[in-house]
């Protein structure tokens, strides 16, 4: 596929690889809501029960990136770049003990991207 909804920074890849080395296969799930929400969370592949209500947004370094469908309806016009920043979170996301959090930078899809991905 020529266009993607997702990208990841070098720094984030480094952290992702560290987690992979320790925990094996992973998934990303985009959270919504309170406190530590609206952030990408990374879990061991089998940890979270996924079904048709979780939309596969794409794959980053072999890691599937999911978002719940109703949230996706508002997000599908944006492109997401996964990055890391120093910080803490109280979710179960696996990067937290490393003293960093995954965060997303968003931008609107270009006309071409929107056409290719959403039509």
């Amino acid at each position: 596929m020529k266009y993607s909804r997702l990208a990841i920074t070098e720094k984030a890849i480094e952290i992702l690889n560290q987690i992979k080395a320790k925990n094996g296969e992973l998934i990303f799930h985009q959270s919504g809501g309170c406190c530590d929400g609206t952030a990408p969370m990374v879990f061991e592949k089998e940890d979270m029960y996924l079904d048709d209500s979780d939309i596969l947004m794409g794959q980053l370094e072999g890691v599937n990136y999911y978002m719940s469908e109703d949230q996706y309806q508002y997000w599908k016009y944006t492109h997401l770049t996964i990055d890391v920043t120093p910080g803490r979170g109280s979710s179960f996301s696996l990067e937290i003990p490393l003293g960093v959090r995954f965060i997303i930078h968003s931008r609107l899809l270009s006309k071409e991207e929107d056409k290719a991905l959403n039509e």
């Binding site: 809501g33 309170c34 406190c35 929400g37 508002y74 179960f92 937290i96 965060i103 968003s106 931008r107």
Partner: protein
């Protein structure tokens, strides 16, 4: 007048079985203050074994604690309230240091409200009763409320002491033992409370575990020795906790945030009086607690014929927010709780601008001088746009409000309900019909009518839709921490006659 950073010990362990203990691994993590990004203290980095020790202690204590009289439990809850009240300023100062919020809020809101929650549940268990029904002349059905046993509670960092005080007192009042995990960003007031009340409860009744979500939170939420999990946080972790609870067939309660609409009908501007002044403050309450409130009124909906005049006043009032040292009693809005929160909020302001939202005020970080230059400050920001934008749909958890206009009641309700969430809402009007009909039409668990951000212990609070389920505060919270023993008693001497 300004306070200064309080003194802390070098490190704090977990509070298990009535005393402070080192984590099994011996590891601690550093906790910084978001005010100036300097170290507060080190806290226990707990793992599975620590969680197990806490759950074991709670299980060992639950039988005796569950059999104490309501009167004696109430007395202990009142004692905690008295102790917090006696040290009100100390708790407020530690909370401001750990969370970054303005000292005027911790002194006047966080700590006094916390105290009142302890007292409320102490009072509730003295006044409430079970029930008995005579089903027929010889049969009595008696309902006895029994504690669940051991409760796991995972609380957020936005109101550390208050969220603890929403969760602990009803669970304890109902006769349960608790293992509570504070957010790792804000472990300090929970620790201070345990120092002050270490001897109040029998060992094992309250246990506090510090540490990271994947290392301590997950083993707690999935622990088979726990009988119920109460969680405040976001949707993905909420889903995971429900998943773990399903393995143990445990009940859960979830409070998962929102995107609350604050609706202003044109009648608010019929007079230039105290009520209009109150309504404008009501709109600016998006900046309360730096916007880090699950019920943050983060969408302002204004009727179109008053839109310009009303928003002019709201923008002026927002610009008057004094951002300075959070220890200063004149500070009106403090620091965001952490760096990642700060970064996330800025990234939302950016996407809002890209989506075409117009910045009416703010729109950037707030640079403070001196030691505060390393803290995490953001300007209160008003973005004008439409309800389909991401800044209207996602909880930013910062001092960022999205504002739009509506034509009539029908459109106000449509926009208000066009969200995944349903935690809070505000309705402002002088029209007697709207005062009742609009709140009834909004799908949210708490609708503030001509007020906002009030959290009395005596009013139930909780979400519709993706904001979760279960109610906190109020007597009804007690029932989320209990089960019903039905005793069906026959006073009939005669047999059924079947056998």
């Amino acid at each position: 007048m300004s306070y200064t950073k309080p003194k802390f010990k070098e490190k704090y362990g977990n509070f298990i079985n009535g005393k402070f203990v080192d984590p099994v691994s011996g590891e601690y993590f550093e906790n910084n203050s978001p005010i100036d990004n300097t170290l507060i203290a080190k806290y226990a980095r707990s793992g599975k074994e620590d969680v197990q020790n806490a759950v074991d202690a709670a299980n060992a204590a639950k039988e005796d604690w569950g059999n104490t009289s309501a009167a004696s439990r109430a007395a202990l809850l009142n004692k905690v309230a008295d102790i917090i009240e006696e040290h009100l300023e100390e708790f407020a100062l530690v909370e401001t240091c750990d969370n970054g919020k303005a000292i005027r809020e911790t002194i006047n809101a966080d700590v006094p409200l916390s105290i009142d929650h302890w007292r409320y549940f102490a009072a509730v268990i003295r006044a409430e009763e079970g029930s008995a029904t005579e089903l027929d002349e010889n049969t009595l059905s008696m309902n006895i409320k029994e504690p669940l046993g051991v409760i796991a509670q995972i609380i957020p960092w936005n109101f550390p002491l208050l969220m603890l005080s929403w969760k602990l007192p009803p669970a304890l009042a109902a006769g349960n033992c608790v293992v509570l995990k504070p957010a790792e960003q804000t472990p300090s007031t929970a620790t201070l409370l345990m120092e002050k009340i270490a001897d109040v409860f029998p060992p094992g009744v309250i246990n506090i575990i510090h540490g990271f979500g994947p290392e301590a939170g997950k083993p707690l939420a999935s622990n088979p020795g726990v009988d119920k999990v109460a969680f405040t946080g976001e949707t993905t972790t909420g889903q995971l906790i429900m998943q773990y609870a399903s393995k143990n067939l445990n009940p859960v309660t979830m409070e998962l945030g929102g995107k609350s609409p604050n609706i202003f009908f044109n009648s608010v501007m019929d007079e230039d009086d105290a009520f209009l002044d109150k309504a404008i403050e009501g709109a600016v309450l998006f900046a309360f607690n730096q916007g880090e409130v699950c019920t943050c009124p983060s969408r302002i909906l204004v009727q179109e014929d008053i839109y310009d005049a009303f928003m002019e006043k709201v923008v002026a009032r927002t610009k008057a927010i004094n951002q300075t040292n959070p220890y200063d009693v004149n500070c009106m809005m403090g620091a965001q709780a952490s760096n990642d929160q700060y970064e996330k909020i800025l990234s939302y302001i950016k996407i809002g601008k890209e989506e075409g939202a117009k910045v009416l005020t703010g729109g950037d970080a707030c640079k403070l001088d001196g030691d505060l230059a390393n803290g995490f400050y953001i300007q209160p920001t008003i973005l004008e746009g439409h309800n389909k934008m991401r800044v209207f749909q996602e909880e930013i958890f910062g001092p960022v409000v999205a504002v739009t206009k509506f034509k009539d009641e029908a459109e106000a309700i449509e926009i208000a309900n066009d969200t995944l969430y349903g935690l809070g809402a505000g309705v402002w009007t002088r029209d007697a019909h709207q005062l009742y009909q609009i709140p009834r039409a909004i799908k949210a668990g708490r609708v503030w009518v001509n007020c906002y951000h009030a959290y009395p212990a005596h009013a139930p609070f909780g979400g519709y839709k993706k904001s979760g389920f279960g109610r906190e505060n109020h007597l009804m919270m007690m029932n989320h921490y209990r089960q019903t023993k039905n005793m069906l008693i026959s006073y009939d001497k005669n047999k059924l006659g079947f056998f």
